[in-house]
Symmetry: C3
Subunit: 150 residues, 3 copies
């Protein structure tokens, strides 16, 4: 039996969480651009080499891994947000908002230059929320499979 | 009140813009593969080191940042295309097509070897279109929240 | 004429294939973390430099390109999975499952340290399945455009 996709009001929050994450990413890329000018790491160089630039680790660590890691998780985060939200829109929106906030702390924690600081608020919050989001997505998939035929 | 997702005919153009962007990316990865053979930069090396390869900057600049940057924006671009298109399919399809064309100019501009050329047609067009796409996506999210109950 | 999105039971498999790919990626990132400890390549370094680390090629090759390449194709793979599945859910689920299995072989093949091993099962299977997925996605887009008005 086919299921019509119906979007409840709460799905609007899911979409806006995605838009918020987009703005966070733009903010992070501005921070990276500022760091490029400050530490003289020019395109196309993605990661500065320590033997060539005394601020290499700071640039790589503070900004690039904070930003690049955020880009790496984006496809997964968006997919789970949009799919999990089809069945659990309120929960998904809250978990997605937590991930976005955690991502901010992850970035600023990385910005101290010490990669271990990223293990604090940012990663723990994201991991917990991420597990929740996978759960919502799997729940949505399973709900389609077990739906009884009328 | 729940909203059924209904796809108008124009959403077909949104989907085909996504397919076009996919083909553009395959074309770019072929260009990168050709450059790897030409400049002798072999896997798993992602970016050539200037002290080891006289064509390093050309390879890194011309191809990799053109291709890699395109991959970086893909999750965001696709999400906004597909969500914004649910409410503004014609506008979204046009903006998405502009982004795809701009991405082509960005890649070939980068291919001259001078990263500043990428600031021209490619980036300005993409930025304007991107703002439009975020607007369509936010509009879609807000429309779900403010929909009056019958 | 607008088309309501209706998800058949088989779309549940499409969603679960996406969840499986997510788990595969988490597994790969654990392998990368293990390799970081084993070969002493610490954050924020993404790719080890051969002149500084005798295991550089092994780390870069075995793990990072296996994992990073998987992350690079993820936006495209997810988009085609979810869109193609709206029209061809059973075919899309099977092709997506094949891509996930192929990605596993790609990663373990890369793990031997010789990048050419990745050209075997992993890439051939993925390429064939990928062509199929693009086909499903284009088919879905075209079906929206040619749908006759009632």
């Amino acid at each position: 039996m086919a299921v019509s996709i119906e979007l409840t009001k709460e799905y609007g929050y899911v979409v806006l969480v995605l838009v918020a994450y987009a703005f966070l990413n733009f903010w992070m890329s501005f921070q990276v651009a500022k760091a490029r000018r400050k530490y003289k790491v020019f395109y196309p160089t993605m990661y500065a080499i320590e033997s060539e630039n005394k601020d290499a680790k700071l640039f790589n660590c503070i900004q690039q891994r904070g930003h690049q890691n955020s880009l790496e998780v984006m496809p997964l985060f968006f997919a789970m947000l949009l799919l999990g939200g089809l069945r659990h829109p309120a929960v998904t929106a809250v978990l997605g908002a937590l991930c976005t906030v955690a991502r901010f702390f992850y970035f600023t924690g990385y910005a101290t230059g010490d990669p271990r600081n990223r293990m604090k608020i940012g990663v723990r919050l994201s991991s917990l929320a991420g597990v929740g989001l996978i759960g919502c997505t799997a729940s949505f998939g399973i709900s389609l499979l077990v739906r009884e035929t009328a």
